[in-house]
Structures are given as structure tokens and as C-alpha cells.
């Protein structure tokens, strides 16, 4: 996917929308499978918040890129290579610990991002961020509670949290990568260059993990490519399931 500078603002908002949509769909996959009824409700509620955030960001993207595409066009009519979400959000749910670790890493990032976006020069984006920031703060609280309970829990829950952290940690490097799009967006005051979010994210995550008796894994593997449309294997399967109904029955409503 070639990113043109003129469309930097639109690509920037599209990345955020895609992060929200893909994470929303992953969480929705927990519906009726969570370990407790409360968390079945919690994970699907978080999914719904993220879906709402994705919808308004797609709507804004359509205005910025001038295509007039609908939210459904972005969600259902693009192929894998056209999605520009980060790799972390598309990783499979795994066990409950894996989902909680992914939630901790993602919601902490999203909260920092929405906080910065509240002062966007794009008034629509700033308005969206003003609402989303409160939702993401709630998501982070939920993930933090579970991180503490499982990390500082039984031997088995601690082991599972450690494994989840080891599996997902490498994908966090990509969250803070800068490129032409993020630098242009930052220059226009649309939103922060991702590396500016790193200190706040680091500080919160390190404290939460340490409180949960978990340690930050050491790794040199830094997978990347999501922002350019190069995804990990599980993503294609997820997308096929997510898009199938809309593509098989064009214009279907319920």
C-alpha cells in the first residue's frame, strides 16, 4: 500500500479506526466463552465501546480522504492488505490470560493516544477523543484489575500471565514506530507521533506488571508491518469470518 502525503491525515485516522475495529472483533469472539458471566459481559461491552470508536473514526476518515465511503465499506469491503491496524490487536485471544495481557497493553496505549488526541487540531477527532478517553480509562481499569489478580494469583495463573506476556510483548514495539504518516499528522497537529506516547505507556505498564509480580520480558524480536498492511497469519482468518456475511449477502440488513 503506497501512502501519499496528501492523505496523511486520513491514513492516520484509518489506523486508529482499524485498531479499534480489529480489537473489538477479537473481544466479541469471547461472547459466551468467558470464564465468568461478568467477564462475558465486560469483554463484549468493551468490544461495543471499541466498535463505536471505530465507526466514528471511519466516518471521519471518509470525510478526510474525500471518498465518501461508508463505515461498512471500510470494515467489510477491504482486503487484508488494506487494513492498517497494528499487529498486536489482531493476535488470537488464546487463553483468558492472553486476552487480559493484550487488553492491558492495548488499552494503556489507546488511553494515552486518546488523551493526546483531545487536543487535536481536527475538531471532529478532538470531539471523538473527548468521549473515547473516558471509555478507554475504564477498559484499562478492567485489564489492570485482572492483571493484578492473575499475576499475583496462583502459581498457574502467574505462569499463564508470564507466557502471555512473553508471546505478546514483541508486538508492542510497533505501537511506537514513527513513519511519514505519523510525522505529517503530528506536523499538522492532527495527533501525536506514536513515540511521544512511549514514556506514559512504559511507566504505567511497568508499574502494573511489577504490582502483579510479573517481569517485562527481554526480547530482541520486533515484528512490524501492520501499518503497511502486512499482517500475521491469524488476521486473514479473522477477517474472513468477520466479512463473510456482508460479502455473501450484499446489502443485507436485520
Amino acid at each position: 500500500m503506497t501512502l501519499v502525503v496528501a492523505g496523511a491525515a486520513a491514513v492516520y485516522t484509518l489506523r486508529i479506526a482499524d485498531d479499534c475495529l480489529v480489537l473489538s472483533h477479537r473481544l466479541a469472539q469471547w461472547s459466551s466463552w468467558a470464564p465468568t458471566l461478568e467477564d462475558d459481559v465486560a469483554l463484549t461491552n468493551i468490544a461495543l465501546d471499541l466498535l463505536g470508536q471505530a465507526r466514528v473514526m471511519y466516518a471521519r476518515t471518509a470525510e478526510l480522504d474525500g471518498t465518501g465511503r461508508s463505515e461498512d465499506d471500510y470494515a467489510f469491503m477491504r482486503d487484508e492488505r488494506e487494513f492498517v491496524n497494528c499487529l498486536l490487536v489482531e493476535q488470537e485471544n488464546g487463553d483468558f490470560a492472553t486476552t487480559i495481557v493484550r487488553q492491558l497493553l492495548c488499552s494503556t496505549y489507546q488511553l494515552a493516544q486518546w488523551q493526546a488526541l483531545t487536543s487535536s487540531t481536527d475538531e471532529q477527532v478532538a470531539a471523538i477523543a473527548g468521549k473515547a478517553v473516558k471509555e478507554s480509562a475504564y477498559h484499562r481499569d478492567h485489564a489492570t484489575d485482572w492483571t493484578l489478580r492473575l499475576g499475583d494469583g496462583t502459581e498457574e495463573s502467574h505462569r499463564r500471565m508470564g507466557s502471555a506476556l512473553a508471546a505478546l510483548w514483541p508486538f508492542t514495539a510497533e505501537l511506537f514506530e514513527s513513519d511519514a504518516v505519523t510525522r505529517d499528522a503530528a506536523g499538522l497537529g492532527i495527533g501525536p507521533d506514536p513515540d511521544a506516547l512511549r514514556p506514559a505507556w512504559d511507566a504505567y505498564i511497568k508499574r502494573a506488571l511489577s504490582d502483579a509480580t510479573l517481569t517485562v520480558p527481554e526480547t530482541t524480536w520486533r515484528p512490524t508491518g501492520g501499518r503497511q498492511g502486512l499482517h500475521t497469519e491469524p488476521f486473514g482468518y479473522m477477517l474472513a469470518e468477520m466479512q463473510h456475511l456482508h460479502r455473501s449477502f450484499p446489502g443485507v440488513t436485520w
Partner: protein, 159 residues
């Protein structure tokens, strides 16, 4: 009564689809009504949560209500800024919410640290309650339990 007040009253009386005991005016979802000299009506509504699934049906209800009352030229806009907070909920709305069995959001000053006031059980009014789950049956509710009567009850989340 002027036209604009009349439209505001009619549209404001529409029940919330998820909590029908409350109107959209009680919840602070109805934000503004304007009418221009040509008779075109603009209504602004705001979601409590970004992904609120009730919003589309509220928008349709408002549109139909204004049209049915003799103003066929109507546009309902969804506005996000300034962001909705529980402070937008009317006093009448808080009372109705409690009567409906949902503990209302606590009044708070957003410049101060929240969560100092107890959430009262809507069934026995005890202030000894605790949160059971962050999330409840709708995006805007959490679940609490009363330590006095033992009942669980929904609490309208504060934000």
C-alpha cells in the same frame, strides 16, 4: 408556548429504548433544537457512549416525532462535543432511575476527586454497597451488591 419549546418538549418526551422509564431529556441526550425561518428543524442529540446501540433508534424516533407533529423538514444530527457526562442527567431523571431500580450516578464535581460519596442501594437505601462487576447489562451500567439487604442492583456508571 413558542414553536421551538413545543418541539423540544415533544422530542424530549421520547423514552430511552434501553431504559424506557426515562426520557431522552431526562438523560441529557437531547442537546439542542433549532428552527430556521423556512421552517427547517435541526435537532442535536448526543450519545452516552460512543458505541451506544440505542442511538440509531433514538435518532429515528426523534425524526418521526418531529415530522408527525407537523414539521416534515427535519434533520437530526449526532454531536459528540462537548462530551456527554452524567452531570447532564436531570434531577427528575435521577429520581426516575432510582424508582426504576437503577442506582443513579452520584452528583460530582469533575474538578474534584470522585468516588467519595457512597452509592445507595435503590431497594433499601443502605449506603453499604460494593461493586461486583465493572460492566453491566448496557454500556452505561455497572453491577453492585448491597451489604445490608444482599440484593444486586445496576448502577448507572459515572463519567
Amino acid at each position: 408556548m413558542t414553536t421551538i419549546d413545543e418541539i423540544r418538549r415533544m422530542a424530549g418526551a421520547i423514552p430511552d429504548p434501553e431504559m424506557p422509564a426515562l426520557t431522552i431529556a431526562d438523560l441529557g441526550i437531547l442537546r439542542d433544537v433549532r428552527i430556521d425561518p423556512s421552517g427547517h428543524v435541526d435537532v442535536d442529540i448526543t450519545p452516552t457512549y460512543t458505541g451506544c446501540p440505542a442511538l440509531d433508534s433514538i435518532r429515528d424516533d426523534v425524526e418521526r416525532c418531529v415530522r408527525d407533529h407537523g414539521y416534515p423538514d427535519v434533520t437530526v444530527r449526532i454531536v459528540l462535543s462537548p462530551a456527554w457526562t452524567t452531570a447532564w442527567m436531570s434531577e427528575a431523571g435521577r429520581i426516575k432511575l432510582r424508582e426504576y431500580g437503577i442506582a443513579p450516578p452520584r452528583q460530582q464535581h469533575f474538578d474534584l476527586r470522585p468516588l467519595t460519596i457512597a452509592v445507595e442501594c435503590p431497594l433499601c437505601n443502605s449506603s453499604r454497597t460494593h461493586e461486583m462487576a465493572h460492566f453491566g447489562s448496557t454500556q452505561c451500567q455497572a453491577v453492585r451488591q448491597c451489604d445490608a439487604c444482599g440484593e444486586t442492583f445496576p448502577h448507572f456508571k459515572e463519567h
